[in-house]
Symmetry: C2
């Protein structure tokens, strides 16, 4: 048996573990991402984590699979584009630099696609011919996975589902520079902002009038308020979930996947979020695809490690 | 060399031709579709057309490829669902019935996917890794084509791009029974209806007031009026083209295809339609995919014959 090290490299931490060819995970560990220290420091931290994890291996380690933040080209192993959460990350030769630092072969892709690959292999999508993974959290992203793995795209940019025009987001400025995209109504920060817009409107029922009201400062606060019955909060959560459900249904009408799997921070928000998501999704599906399941992911944070390791096993199977 | 007969089976006619392994088309012919006479009559008409076409072949005919109206399962060769344009068409064992009637192996898929396969092989998408084909005419449909061919989907329903929620279509009833889908603002009939809604509104500039105005009765009339400078007509055309451009850009942000190819009746509408299509498409693309080309199809009606024949050649290559 040969093992792989699976890594999940995000803006705040690098997580990793040993993954067996059957997908069992052991020796998990993580380190903070030195996000402000530049790519070389990040590669060094990742290599040290790999060494610590690989030290637990009782079988040979065939390689490292890594899912990383940013737009990653899995063929060249380079970071094509990235947000500012990792300083100077765009342009990093992630694959070859990590290979040089560890002496192990490296396979990489972006974090969401690797997460999707894990769920498709051994999670909520196990056995399905095709799967649409939706990651709803700080942003809205995802992956369309078939028997050939996640769709990568001509610019390695496939999966930017947050940038579908959304009727509910009309006129709102998007993180990408356009307006009216799904992400600005359905992401976690967007739900907080929708609450803030409504709660500060002069006639809003939840508007603070006596100075003793404490504003929610996080999306989790808004979700909690909604669960407690606050109408303004419930509307903000439902608006985001509804917009997401409708857009995802449009993707299902377009691609007819075997199922949709939902992950990310919003997937933990409970029925206040899931109920309007399901309702909007069901409302928009054409008859012929209306039995398409919409389910939560099942592997949690292990999904990315398992999916990243799968990149290594798949590469070995091909060569 | 071995030839294939390519067939395009639509609501009004069955077209066909001999196709060589390099994609050259000869001996084209067509017959009216006996749409009201039931599936057996349609299969008989198709088989007679095949016999007439195959009579011109100077090389062996390996099989028949057919792209047909309706939701077609390419694996079973059955018609899963269909509109009323072909009576009792749903449930027809298209593949095996045509094989029995002709003695030739039959490969089938729906007309739009076969059209897309032709364009991907030898048309506007030649050499591209992936292609999104948009067919804009009586309805809005299409196909997402990769190296493995067109995406089929779990219910053979992939490509129903007309059923993406569209901000511009909010509240309008869709052919699928829902409301607010792209098709009801962007299809040819939808553009005619948008013109009618605007022209009959009391304050519309194009409203007939003197009894001598002749209403446009077809989408082509509206397109012609728009090209002649009629503002109401131009707005109806631009609304449909703009909604389509935005929805297609959302698909490009989601799937990152190498290019988008546009076909169908609306693709012949000239700059009155193409200009707002391009403008809306360009407006919605994220920076990373903004060089994605949007181009007209190049093979005309031969695309379906070529794509249908490709199904036969691909099947032979696999076996």
């Amino acid at each position: 048996m040969t093992l792989a090290v699976g890594l999940d490299l995000g803006g705040t931490k690098i997580a990793g573990g040993l993954v067996s060819p059957s997908g069992s995970v052991s020796a998990t560990a993580s380190v903070p991402t030195p996000a402000d220290d530049g790519p070389a420091a990040i590669i060094t931290a990742a290599a040290q984590l790999v060494a610590a994890i690989a030290g637990h291996a009782r079988e040979p380690v065939a390689g490292i699979g890594i899912g990383a933040a940013g737009v990653i080209d899995p063929v060249t192993g380079r970071v094509i584009a990235a947000t500012s959460s990792l300083r100077n990350w765009a342009g990093t030769a992630l694959g070859s630099d990590l290979q040089a630092a560890t002496g192990l072969p490296v396979a990489c892709d972006n974090d969401v696609r690797v997460h999707a690959l894990g769920e498709a292999w051994l999670g909520a999508g196990e056995g399905a011919e095709s799967m649409l993974l939706i990651a709803a959290g700080t942003g809205i992203g995802g992956a369309y996975v078939t028997g050939d793995g996640p769709t990568i795209g001509a610019h390695a940019a496939a999966g930017h589902f947050g940038h579908i025009p959304s009727p509910e987001a009309a006129g709102l400025p998007c993180t990408c520079g356009r307006t009216g995209h799904l992400e600005v109504i359905a992401s976690g920060p967007a739900i907080l902002q929708a609450y803030e817009r409504a709660a500060t409107a002069p006639t809003a029922p939840g508007a603070p009038t006596d100075g003793r009201f404490t504003y929610p400062s996080t999306t989790q606060d808004v979700v909690r308020l909604a669960a407690e019955g606050d109408a303004t909060a419930a509307e903000a959560v439902a608006a985001g979930a509804g917009a997401l459900g409708r857009a995802v249904a449009g993707l299902v009408n377009s691609l007819d996947p075997s199922l949709v799997v939902v992950t990310g921070g919003m997937a933990d928000a409970g029925p206040t979020w899931w109920n309007p998501l399901h309702a909007a999704f069901d409302d928009e599906l054409m008859d012929i695809v209306r039995d398409c399941p919409l389910r939560p992911a099942t592997l949690g944070s292990n999904a990315a490690l398992i999916g990243a390791a799968k990149l290594v096993f798949d590469e070995r199977a091909r060569s």
